[in-house]
Amino acid sequence: MATPTIGYVSTQELPALPPPDAGRGAVAWLRTNLFATPLNSALTIAVGLLLAWALPPIINWLFFDAIWDGDSREACLVEGAGACWAFVKAKFGQFIYGRYPLDQRWRVDLVFIMLVVGLVPLAMPKVPYKKQNAILMLVVFPFVAYVLLYGGFGLPVVETALWGGLLVTLVVAIVGIVASLPLGILLALGRQSKLPVIKTASVVFIEFWRGVPLITVLFMSSVMLPLFLPPGTNFDKLLRALVGVALFSSAYMAEVIRGGLQAIPKGQYEGAAAVGLGYWQSMRLIILPQALKIVIPGIVNTFIGLFKDTSLVLIIGIFDLLGIVQLNFTDPNWASPVTPATGFVFAAFVFWIFCFGMSRYSLYMERRLETGHKRR
């Protein structure tokens, strides 16, 4: 290097070199992630000890001491018995279908299969025919599913009072999710409207539904609503719960989406207007795609909350997965000290699978929709 004088002209371009080795390899990973500082090392060791202390009993309870087979409580009354999986095994049908008639359960299976077959290609970005797929799932599928589950067109009617378990959980959650997103979008746009009537209506709606607890909504739908309806009209109980849940979550959704709308710079609205797009076009093509992308975490958060809140339908006498699991604790044939714990672990696990799935999928979508306009 030349002596540093005020006048300096570089004589060659410096070559680009690979980064030093210190940042790579397993040892380096351990050092940066687990033992970076004395405090980190101490925490790593503490957590390691905690795991060593807590994990083995949990694993023993779940697997090695667990009772896998049996016809009644006798099997699970053994001294030191772990989880009573025999109970879950025996009651599995009820947990999934509730009191849906045995010989008709194929109808539910068929709906589940159709749901998976329709949803998986929709969720995978690479599969073509998205538009047709979406129409199929949003228009055709609900109708077919309704006929299959409830009856009609030659199928015997199965009253919703007989539905239960995971079936009810999924019906309530999916209807709530599918209805709350578009409703929420409309409410969020309504709340930003320049027309006072639309704005006020949206604000009143949102604040009302957000202000009351879901339990109240469900109670009112099952106890108060019949008082206002002309005598003789009988609204299906599950339907009332569905409407209540959908309206309730759409209010939450509206506020989440409004957050996204507010994050869009004014320049985007102006850019859209300047190229001649009308209100609905600029919303659909420019503003909403960006706003919804920003609030994916919030939207999925609401979805997950909604999915778990479906358990509250228990209080109006509809037995969702958790409700039906709890109901079965009272079966004298299976009453044992480990039965409730096993049931709750099972129910928690099923809820977790669905919620975790939604969470992972949303992370994946966030990454996929990243177009690099954020400065990193």
């Binding site: 320049g267 985007q268 102006e270 850019g271 859209a272 207007a273 300047a274 190229v275 001649g276 797009l277 009308g278 076009q281 093509l285 420019i286 795609p289 960006q290 992308k293 929709l369 177009t371 690099g372 306009h373 954020k374």
Partner: protein, 264 residues
């Protein structure tokens, strides 16, 4: 790239040749307030087809507001604005019609970050002009070639430099085949190295006879392509003249002060 000398020659000739008698934009006694603040005070301006007008003035003088009124991004409260024969009122149809014919380039580009460069350019032709996608893409590629970045067509705006983004923004406007182009400080947010590439694009646009209104502080650009320079202060047009006269012999005290501060 053409050397500055030859394009200057060309544009001097263009300056004399291409202005028609037809009126493109007319502002008659336009007033606007932001709350109590009087932003535009009795602005009168007639722009003929083919004119290239540079608007300058201190910040807060209302120059951006004025050109934003021309495509109704801002509403004026008094007076008349007539663009291409359509008077701007609260009639949404008329507003849409005007916006279809008037392109606008913003200081911060305002490209759509979730769409590729090509999609940015084809969006309006497809949805506003109802053009088949294929045709729209063909036109978009022609304009992207004109602003010299066809190879970026499938990238996202976030992957481009500021100068490239601004050129895309110009191409996006051109895809609508506008009769009038508005530029709102198109080079103010750019790194110094990128100003020239955007100005070159604007110069070539001017040479083709596009009616242009530019809010800019690029005085070199004003000298080279404008046929009229307007100086605004406190919401009114203080002085306007041909560029040579404007720069060499400003009349108003405020203009003299402004020019002495920006021309070193």
């Amino acid at each position: 790239m053409t050397s500055v000398d030859s394009s200057e020659l060309k544009s001097v000739e263009a300056r004399k040749l291409k202005i028609s008698d037809e009126i493109a934009i007319e502002l008659i006694g336009v007033n606007k307030w932001y709350g109590e603040f009087h932003v535009l005070r009795d602005v009168n301006l007639t722009v003929r087809r083919g004119e290239r007008i540079v608007i300058c003035g201190p910040s807060g003088s209302g120059k951006s507001t004025m050109i934003r009124c021309i495509n109704r991004l801002e509403e004026h409260q008094k007076g008349q604005i007539i663009v291409d024969g359509n008077e701007l009122t609260s009639d949404l149809k008329k507003i849409d019609e005007v916006r279809r014919e008037v392109g606008m380039v913003f200081q911060h580009f305002n490209l759509f970050p979730h769409l590729t460069i090509l999609e940015n350019c084809t969006l309006a032709p497809i949805w506003v002009r109802k053009m088949p996608k294929k045709d729209a893409e063909e036109i978009a590629m022609t304009y992207l070639k004109r602003v010299r970045i066809p190879e970026q067509a499938n990238k996202y705006p976030g992957q481009l430099s500021g100068g490239q983004q601004q050129r895309v923004a110009i191409a996006r406007s051109l895809c609508m085949n506008p009769k009038i182009m508005l530029f709102d400080e198109p080079t103010s947010a750019l790194d110094p190295e990128m100003v020239k590439e955007v100005l070159d694009t604007m110069i070539s646009l001017a040479e083709e006879g596009m009616t242009m209104l530019c809010v800019t502080h690029e005085m070199g650009f004003a000298r080279q392509v404008a046929n009229r320079v307007i100086f605004m202060d406190r919401g009114q047009i203080v002085e306007q003249n041909e560029p040579d006269a404007f720069f060499s012999n400003p009349q108003h005290e405020r203009t003299k002060l402004f020019l002495s501060q920006i021309l070193h």
